[in-house]
Amino acid sequence: MAFKNVDLSRYSFEGAQADAITDLSTLDEFDRKRLLYAGIDVNTKERSGSFMHMNHSGVHCKSTQEGLELLDIKQALKLYDGLPQYFWKMVDPNRDEYTRAAAEHLHGGYFIRARKGAKIEAPVQSCLFIKGNGVGQNVHNVVIVEEGAEMHIITGCATAHGTREAAHLGISEFFVHKGGKLTFTMIHNWGEDTAVRPRSAGMLEEDAVLVNNYVLLKPVKDLQMYPTLTLAGRGSVARFNSVIVAPDGSYVDTGNRILLNAPDTRGEIIARTLTTGGTIINRGHIGAYQVPARGHLECKGLILGSGVIHAIPELEGTVDGVELSHEAAVGKIAQEEIEYLMARGLDEDEATSTIVRGFLNVDIMGLPRELEQAVEDQINQLDAGDAM
C-alpha cells in the first residue's frame, strides 16, 4: 500500500518568525492547554531542560542539568562545524520531497546530548509548535546519548487553537552509544487539517537501549511516518510502544521498523490502534540479519462504530536461528468482555469505555506520573465525544 502525498506548495515555509519566550509559563491559556495535552509542562519544574520551537524560530532553550547539552540545532551546527558525525547520517536528505524540503529550508529543531555517563533523571522536554494559518514548518532534531548515559525526552508537537492548514516536516536522528539508555516519548496534538511528515531514524551501539513511545489521541488530517531503528551493536534493545486513536476525518499511516543488525539484539513493536471513523494504516517491520536475535511485533486494532484499520506486520529473517513473531488483530470489542462487566453492574457504555481505556493503556511506557495522568485524562475524555 503506497504512502499518501502532501502538496507542499499549499504551505508557506518562509516569514513566520516568532519572538523568544524566556518563561514558558507566560504563554496564554489556550497555548498552555494545547501544550499540556502534548505532554509539555510549562512550569518546567520537573524537567531537566526545556526547548521550544514555534513556527520558523527556536523560542526557548534551557538546560538546568549538568551533563545535559540542549541547543537549537542551528547553534549546534555552528558550534560543532556542521555536526559531521550526526547531521543527516541516519536519514538521507534525498529520501523524499519532505526530507529535501527540510534540507533546503531548515527552520530549526533541537540538539540534545546526554554527556558520557550522565544520568539525567528528570525528563527533558521539547515542543514543536505551529501557530498561524498556512504555516509549513521544517525542523531537524538530533539526539545523542553518549556512553553509559541515560535520558528521557518528552517531545510534544502541537498546533495552536484555531490554527488552520498547517504542515510539519520533521527530521529526527537518534544515536545511542555504548551502554546508553534513551526513552523517547512523543505526543502529537495536531489539528484537524494539519499534515505531518516526520522522518526519523536511529542507531544503537553495543548494549544500548531505546524505548520509543508514541501517543496520538487527537484528530490529524494526514500523518505519515515510519521511524527506523538500527541495532548495530551486540546486546542492544529497541522497543516501540504506540497508542493511536483516529476519529472521523483523521488519516494516519504509521509504522515502526527495527533492524537487528548485530548478535544478541532484541526488538519489540507494540501498537494499539483505535478508530472511531478515521483511517489507520499500522505498519511494522522487524528484520533480523544476525543471530541470536529476537523480535516480536504486536499490532492490535479496534474499530468502534466505523473507520478503517489496515495492519501490515512484516517479519524478515535472513539467517538460520532468528526468532521473530507477530500477533495482529483487527476487530471489535468482544461481547463476552462487555457482558462480564455488565454482570458486575456496569451499563453497556460504562463497560465499553472501561474496556477501551484498558486497550489504550499506557502503563508500559513508564511515563512520569503526571504525564501518565494527563494521557489517561485525555483517554477518559474520548468517552465524552462521539467516540464511545
Binding site: 468482544a334 461481547q335 463476552e336 468482555e337 457482558e339 462480564y340 462487566l341 455488565m342 454482570a343 458486575r344 453492574g345 456496569l346 451499563d347 453497556e348 463497560a351 472501561t354 474496556i355 481505556r357 484498558g358 486497550f359 489504550l360 493503556n361 502503563d363
Partner: protein, 262 residues
C-alpha cells in the same frame, strides 16, 4: 427472592430449557445437579441475562420484579451476582480496579477484601490475564465480595481448583451466603439475619462440604426433576449415575421426547 415460572429458553434455534419452575427463598441455597449439556449453565446465564439466551416463554421474578427481559446490569444492580466458570481476560484493566467498580458507590477496602481470599498480590494484574483455575475462582469470589449480591449464582465453584484452594473458596462461598455473624448469635438469629440466596451448579459435590445447602434438584434435558436433599442426590448419582433420572421422569409426559432425543 427468586421465582421462575415455566421458563423456556433457546440458544439460536435450539430449545435448551423446556419449562423450568423453581422458587428460591431468601437465605436459601439451592444446588443444581445434572449431566453435561442438560441446561444447568443455560439456566444461570439466562438468570444473569446474557444476550445469546432467548426466553421464548415464561417469567423470571426477582424480589417480586419481573426481570425476564431486563438488561444484565439492571439485574446486577438489583442484587444478582454470578461467579463465572471461564471469565474473559480484560487487558489493561487492573483486578483491583474492577473490584472497586463491583462495589459501585459503596466504599470498600479492596486490599482488605483481597487478603481474605489471598489475592492481594494480584490486584495490580490485568483481570484474568494468565490466572490459573484457582486464581480465577478467587478473583471471582473477590469481585462478588465487593458486589455483595443477594442472590449468588455459582457455576461449578470447584472446577479446576486444587484441594487447598477448594477450602478457601468453599469457606468464602459460605461467608458470601451466610454473612459473617458474630459468634455469639444463635443459629436461629443467624438464619434470620441472612437473606442471601444461592444457586450452585456442581458436578463433584465438594462444595456441599462448605455451604449449607437446603435443597437440590437434577436438571435433565432441560427439565428439573428429583427434588431432594442435595447430599442424597449426590449419593444417588454417584451410585447409579444420571440414567436414574430417566426412571424418575417416567411419569412425565415428556419421557417420549427425551427417549427420542437420546
Amino acid at each position: 427472592m427468586l421465582e421462575i415460572r415455566d421458563l423456556h429458553v433457546c440458544i439460536g434455534d435450539v430449545e435448551v430449557l423446556k419449562g423450568i419452575d423453581l422458587k428460591i427463598e431468601a437465605g436459601e441455597t439451592f444446588i443444581l445437579f445434572g449431566p453435561n449439556g442438560s441446561g444447568k449453565t443455560t439456566l444461570l446465564m439466562t438468570l444473569m441475562g446474557f444476550a445469546n439466551y432467548t426466553v421464548t416463554q415464561g417469567q423470571i421474578l426477582f424480589k417480586g420484579q419481573d426481570i425476564t427481559h431486563a438488561p444484565m446490569y439492571e439485574r446486577a444492580r438489583l442484587g444478582i451476582g454470578m461467579s463465572f466458570q471461564r471469565p474473559p481476560t480484560i487487558h489493561g484493566l487492573k483486578t483491583g480496579h474492577l473490584v472497586k467498580m463491583c462495589a459501585r458507590e459503596r466504599e470498600v477496602d479492596v486490599e482488605d477484601l483481597a487478603r481474605k481470599v489471598n489475592f492481594d498480590r494480584f490486584l495490580e494484574r490485568d483481570v484474568n490475564a494468565g490466572f490459573s483455575g484457582g486464581e480465577i475462582k478467587r478473583s471471582e469470589m473477590l469481585q462478588l465480595m465487593a458486589q455483595r449480591p443477594d442472590l449468588v449464582l455459582f457455576d461449578e465453584p470447584e472446577s479446576g481448583v486444587d484441594l487447598e484452594n477448594m477450602a478457601l473458596i468453599g469457606q468464602t462461598a459460605r461467608q458470601l451466603l451466610d454473612g459473617m455473624p458474630p459468634a455469639s448469635c444463635s443459629m436461629k438469629q443467624q438464619k434470620a439475619r441472612c437473606k442471601t440466596s444461592g444457586l450452585i451448579i456442581t458436578h463433584t459435590g465438594y462444595i456441599l462440604e462448605y455451604v449449607n445447602a437446603d435443597r437440590g434438584q437434577v436438571m435433565y434435558d432441560g427439565h428439573l426433576c428429583c427434588e431432594a436433599r442435595p447430599r442424597d442426590i449426590l449419593d444417588h448419582v454417584s451410585k447409579y449415575g444420571y440414567q436414574e433420572c430417566l426412571r424418575c421422569l417416567d411419569s412425565d409426559a415428556t419421557l417420549g421426547q427425551i427417549k427420542e432425543a437420546l
